[in-house]
């Protein structure tokens, strides 16, 4: 059997040798895997737009060390099988030196075996802690770990002397990861989870779960999901006259949530990346200049407000750029240089990578914000 594989492979290699020499010397090819369609399109679309914009800007400024950058983007539609196929295409056919994405934890987990085997650095835009825990040599991420967001909420509750919480999480990858962290970290912060409930990503009425929570001992409700579920919950909570304070995840930290939930959004608090409050951040915040540049660029490019999902791709491209400048435009060089990056002030936070930490952020990447008069303010 082994013999035949070899002959077949070498015959094929000959055939392909004539075809695949087409990629031009002098350009650096970077791959992008984003869920531009499908359920996670709210992540993939701003990520793709941002990545394209940043690469354009880099090329306008003369490229990386004089070499132009080419971004090859494929749509994964939020589907793990497709993500694996597209990752293979980027590596085998497009011969990229690094990949930014995919957008979701599930797709990233599916792609990891491929990039590890082919030794191509991957910078995921997904939040799941298990992407970089345990550390895999070629896998990095820019989205803040869910555990950091949970810690932020729990610390806020501790400050306000509340310790009985109800959690309501969406039953998809994002919600499942949040639920895991909410339960795992509760003890450490002296929290007691009195109701642990879920809802489906396409559910249209959550009054049943909220009625149950209203009848419980909970002092605060933490909702973990992405639009539109949390907006429905906010409206349902207002309908039921739920008195307890409502906390959301960073999954809804965009203006979209405020416009969906309307009046029901007032007073809701959530941990968010700093991008949505970039204009009111103190001047000495190290991220401030990167944040303002990103917000301004995105606004002028796409006529809509940039959000922190796009920021994950911004960080991804800029990290790869920094790594290429330091380590050269080879997969190995990029990987090694990434691991040495310190004090990189990006959109998601200040990154400090090391051999033991491929996520690179601390809980300072988040800030507690509150919705007041249809806008974000820093929560007290």
């Amino acid at each position: 059997m082994k013999f035949r594989f070899k002959t077949l492979a070498s015959a094929a290699a000959l055939l392909l040798a004539t075809v695949s020499t087409s990629f031009a010397a002098g350009t650096i090819k970077i791959g992008g895997l984003f869920a531009v369609t499908g359920p996670p399109a709210f992540l993939g679309e701003p990520e793709r737009n941002t990545a394209k914009m940043v690469v354009d800007n880099i090329n306008k400024a003369g490229g990386i060390k004089g070499q132009k950058v080419e971004l090859v983007v494929y749509d994964t539609a939020g589907d793990a099988t497709k993500a694996v196929q597209m990752a293979t295409k980027l590596i085998k056919d497009d011969k990229v030196v690094a990949i930014i994405g995919p957008s979701t934890t599930g797709e990233t987990m599916a792609v990891i075996p491929v990039v590890e085997k082919e030794k191509i650095p991957l910078i995921s835009c997904a939040a799941g802690s298990k992407i970089t825990d345990p550390v895999k040599p070629y896998v990095f991420k820019t989205a803040q770990n869910d555990s950091l967001a949970v810690t932020k909420i729990y610390e806020y509750l501790q400050q306000h002397k509340q310790n009985k919480v109800a959690i309501l999480t969406v039953s998809d990858g994002f919600g499942a990861s949040g639920r895991e962290q909410l339960k795992a970290l509760a003890g450490k912060h002296g929290m007691q989870i009195v109701v642990d409930d879920t809802y489906g990503p396409k559910d249209t009425d959550m009054t049943s779960q909220l009625t149950k929570i209203r009848g419980s001992q909970a002092q605060a409700l933490i909702v973990w999901g992405t639009n539109p579920g949390p907006a429905v919950i906010a409206k349902n909570a207002k309908q039921l006259g739920l008195k307890m304070p409502l906390f959301m995840s960073h999954g809804v930290s965009s203006k979209k949530f405020i416009s969906l939930a309307g009046d029901a959004a007032e007073g809701i608090k959530l941990p968010s990346g700093k991008v949505i409050v970039s204009d009111v951040l103190p001047k000495n915040d190290p991220q401030k200049s990167a944040l303002l540049t990103y917000v301004k660029d995105y606004q002028s490019h796409y006529k809509v407000e940039g959000d922190h999902f796009g920021g994950h791709a911004w960080d991804g491209v800029m990290l790869v750029k920094t790594a290429i400048e330091k380590g050269g435009a080879t997969p190995e060089g990029i990987r090694n240089a990434l691991e040495g990056i310190k004090d990189f002030h990006g959109i998601g936070g200040t990154f400090n990578f090391s051999a033991n930490d491929h996520a690179g952020l601390t809980k300072d990447a988040f800030i507690m914000v509150e919705i007041r008069n249809k806008d974000w303010v820093i929560a007290k």
Partner: protein, 321 residues
């Protein structure tokens, strides 16, 4: 019978030499999934095309195979081959048991019941977090091994999956031409008449349901070992619908048609990529146009197209079927 054999040999030859043209490229990877989809489509075709029973829940059996193999090999460190066989047998038995009440239903009630079954099983994958990993998925499934050969590259997986496809096609072709196959067709065309002729319609239907489920489970096991990571969305309702589409677009009741359907629908996104976001519109439009203009599916439509092109003379198109 001889014609069948020639057809099969031709098919096998194509499968064998395809890597000569695609090896090293990413199409090799796509062809692995074409193989898995072919297995599923052939399985559904046995049920739909031969026994005339619709199923809108076949992705569930696919998922049971994948999760079964994944859990047994990863959580319980079983031998993957043993796990594959065990899971296939369990799924077949389950399908056999549930087949009796479910296949008593007809038409849209059967569609509904299989749909419900599929959704229930999908919800279990999603909610039984301790066992299946829930919505975050199930990582770390090992590759299959045969002696010292580890199936860890696209080329190796290609030969692995396609040898299963060839086996399955051979089995199905034989089945279709056997006494049982004729009995199926009789049930399909006129169930009452078949019953009068002494065909135990009910038992046969349940048997083919179980066989079909078993092939799906095997395809699921292969998928799990090829991907090494599985998550619930790969086994949802839309996958069941996609399988149904493959079978109908390929041609009901034709084994090679199922292959063509699987090939077309798996490769289509590749050809449509240049259209960017418009591909989904084109995909929907193509489904409609093909159903209107090729009601017999690709397997009958292509030869007909050739005949028409050759000026109504009987063209070479037959060889493609």
């Amino acid at each position: 019978m001889k014609r069948e054999l020639i057809k099969f040999m031709l098919f096998a030859l194509c499968v064998l030499v395809a890597p000569l043209f695609f090896s090293g490229s990413y199409l090799m990877n796509v062809l692995v999934f074409v193989g898995i989809h072919t297995l599923l489509a052939v399985a559904l075709n046995l049920l739909l095309g031969y026994a005339g029973q619709i199923s809108l829940g076949h992705a569930a059996f696919f998922g049971l195979g994948a999760y079964g193999s994944g859990i047994l090999t990863t959580t319980f460190s079983w031998n993957p081959w043993l796990a594959m066989v065990t899971v296939a047998v369990i799924v077949a038995t389950m399908a056999f048991a549930i087949g009796f009440p479910i296949l008593k239903l007809k038409g849209h009630y059967l569609a509904m019941a299989t749909l419900g079954l599929g959704i229930i099983i999908f919800i279990v994958f999603n909610e039984w977090v301790d066992v299946t990993g829930g919505p975050s998925g199930f990582p770390g499934i090992p590759n299959l091994e045969l002696g010292t050969l580890v199936f860890d590259s696209d080329l190796k997986n290609y030969y692995l999956v396609w040898s299963f496809v060839l086996g399955c096609v051979l089995l199905s072709v034989n089945l279709a031409n056997s006494r049982i196959g004729r009995a199926f067709r009789a049930i399909h065309d006129a169930e009452t008449a078949a019953r009068v002729m002494g065909v135990n319609a009910r038992l046969l239907k349940v048997q083919v349901f179980a066989l079909s489920a078993m092939i799906c489970a095997i395809a699921g096991s292969l998928y799990a070992h090829v991907m090494t990571f599985i998550a619930p969305p790969s086994f949802g309702f839309n996958i069941s619908v996609e399988l149904l589409t493959m079978v109908v677009i390929g041609g009901l009741g034709s084994i090679y048609g199922s292959f063509l359907g699987a090939l077309l629908l798996t490769m289509l996104p590749e050809f449509l990529r240049f259209m960017h976001d418009y591909d989904i519109v084109f995909y929907g439009g193509l489904l409609m146009v093909m159903t209107i203009f090729m009601p017999g599916g690709l397997v009958r439509g292509i030869p007909e197209l050739f005949r028409k092109l050759a000026g109504l003379k009987k063209g070479k198109g037959d060889a493609h079927a």
